[in-house]
């Protein structure tokens, strides 16, 4: 039982690390640190770095949460720790 619980927690931490890495890359990365570099590319009328900073990162944030909810609901069921 304990080994199973540990595995559940490990999987949760793996999901967290991947999603938070994406969170960091789109905001602090594409939106700030590499924004100047990305600005040489265009997305319609937007310089790409500017778009990430003022639009794209926010869209990605929303998607990240819904992906996490989906993953965790599946994981809860698989490990039988979900709420009845």
């Amino acid at each position: 039982m304990n080994a199973k619980k540990n595995l559940y927690w490990k999987k949760n931490l793996t999901y967290l690390s991947i999603l938070l890495l994406i969170w960091f890359i789109v905001s602090f990365g594409a939106g700030i640190l590499f924004a100047d570099f990305l600005n040489q590319f265009k997305l319609a009328g937007f310089p790409l770095g500017f778009w990430f900073a003022q639009q794209g990162s926010i869209y990605v944030f929303v998607v990240l949460i819904f992906v996490y909810v989906f993953l965790m609901n599946r994981l809860d069921k698989a490990f039988d720790v979900d709420e009845k």
Partner: protein
Amino acid sequence: MDAQAWTYILVGFTFVLYIGIAAWSRAGSTQEFYVAGAGVHPLLNGMATAADWMSAASFLSMAGLISFMGYGGAQYLMGWTGGYVLLALLLAPYLRKFGKYTVPDFIGERYYSKNARLVALICALFVSFTYVVGQMKGVGVAFARFLDVSFETGVLIGIGIVFFYAVLGGMKGITYTQVAQYCVLIFAFTVPAIFISLQMTGNPIPQLGFGGKTTDGVYLLEKLNQVSIDLGFAEYTAVNKGNLVNMLFITGALMFGTAGLPHVIVRFFTVPKVKDARISAGWALLFIALLYTTAPAVAAFARTNLIKTVSEKPYAEVPQWFSNWEKTGLLKFTDKNSDGKIQYLADANLNELAIDQDIMVLANPEIANLPAWVVALVVAGGLAAALSTAAGLLLVIATSISHDLLKKNLRPDISERGELWAARISIAVAVFAAGIAGMHPPGFVAQVVALAFGLAASSFFPAIILGIFDKRMNREGAISGMIVGIVFTATYIFYFTPQLGGPGSRENFWFGISPEGIGTLGMIFNFLVSIVVSRFTAPPPAEVQELTENIRFPRGSGEAHDITIH
């Protein structure tokens, strides 16, 4: 009908709506009063959270701020949304499983210490009160400008409304009122944006129109960049390379601060299940994102429109809105070269137009010549934003006093009825105190908002995260971490904020980090100190380790409850 009549009608209608909802959803128990009986549907809770979160500042000031900052304004956009990812992934589900009412509750139980609870309580009170004073001031300003009453009367009307539904309904009344307020504020923000986007780019979706072409076939942002350079300003979309480190830290402080603010965290105690807490954060961010992705579009439209309307135009021919705002003193024209025309330039010596950035959202529909009812709608939206945030904050203050201070510290034997009365009385007192402070705001209110985020980031955020993810974290580690985080952050902010009497000057900023961003560094110090100290002191008692283990698994969350583990 003119804008004034429309304003009376729309504002009056929304207020009747809020009061009606509050009367229908009265709280009968402390559990309903504190966490709405933990029975709010996650979608509705998401909406209420969004309204709670988006204050008068988000609604009225942010787009204006961005339109003057250009690319750099992104620190607010990312900072005030990115924190929700942290909330959903790292905090909300676990705190919901823990199942208490407040943040000091969690700190007190997890770190088995009344002192820790007290420190958390004081921080929660300070952060919430600072915030609510700003909201009351916002309400006063909006009323004064649009209902033609004095500023003080405006604040009084605001007090009356909030008093009625917060005292009566508690969290239950506030939550359902906030749902209505969200609808009002998002409608009020997006309708003018859609109109203006259509007008300028032919695209009804502002998020796309913003990257589209104007009627003359040039991309809007390219045009704006060109005009900005011509007037001597920096390119609108260009990155300010000298400011990158500072921007990184400010964005971080706002994100981590968001995830540590008591009035945001408490929202996730109001849903029935752990599963709901996760999805609720998702809904909240989706609803917030609607406004936060529209705001930068509004900023670019407003900036372009403003320059087009006033630059090099004869002063004698200015439109009506220009004269209206001149009367408030928030817009000023001085004809320095006496040519009778308005020169709006980056060079301070030649520039003849001074614009307060706070007026951009309110003036925007007038600048774009939109119908009078749209102008009135924006006022109703701004009031909805201010009132919903104020109510949420006042509830945190009342809960802190009646639950954390009275029930958990001074009078543990207080009855359910007595506690409910205490909560109502403290919310009433808090409303009036906030109103009075809002009428005579200490000059430093704007500056202390930075302090609120900095404190939340450098104290609560690490203490909660470590309390969930590090089983070995103990009382000694958490308390010393919080103290180091707070003291460092507060000292830096006071030292480098001249408005607070600090002697420091910009050149001496550490790594160029301004006071707004120092919370990130304070947070890092907190993490380091907590971990080091906890490894050299006794591990937490077995039952606390069990509790930490237990909150990691969703099953058995039940309702928000009130048991003690010792």
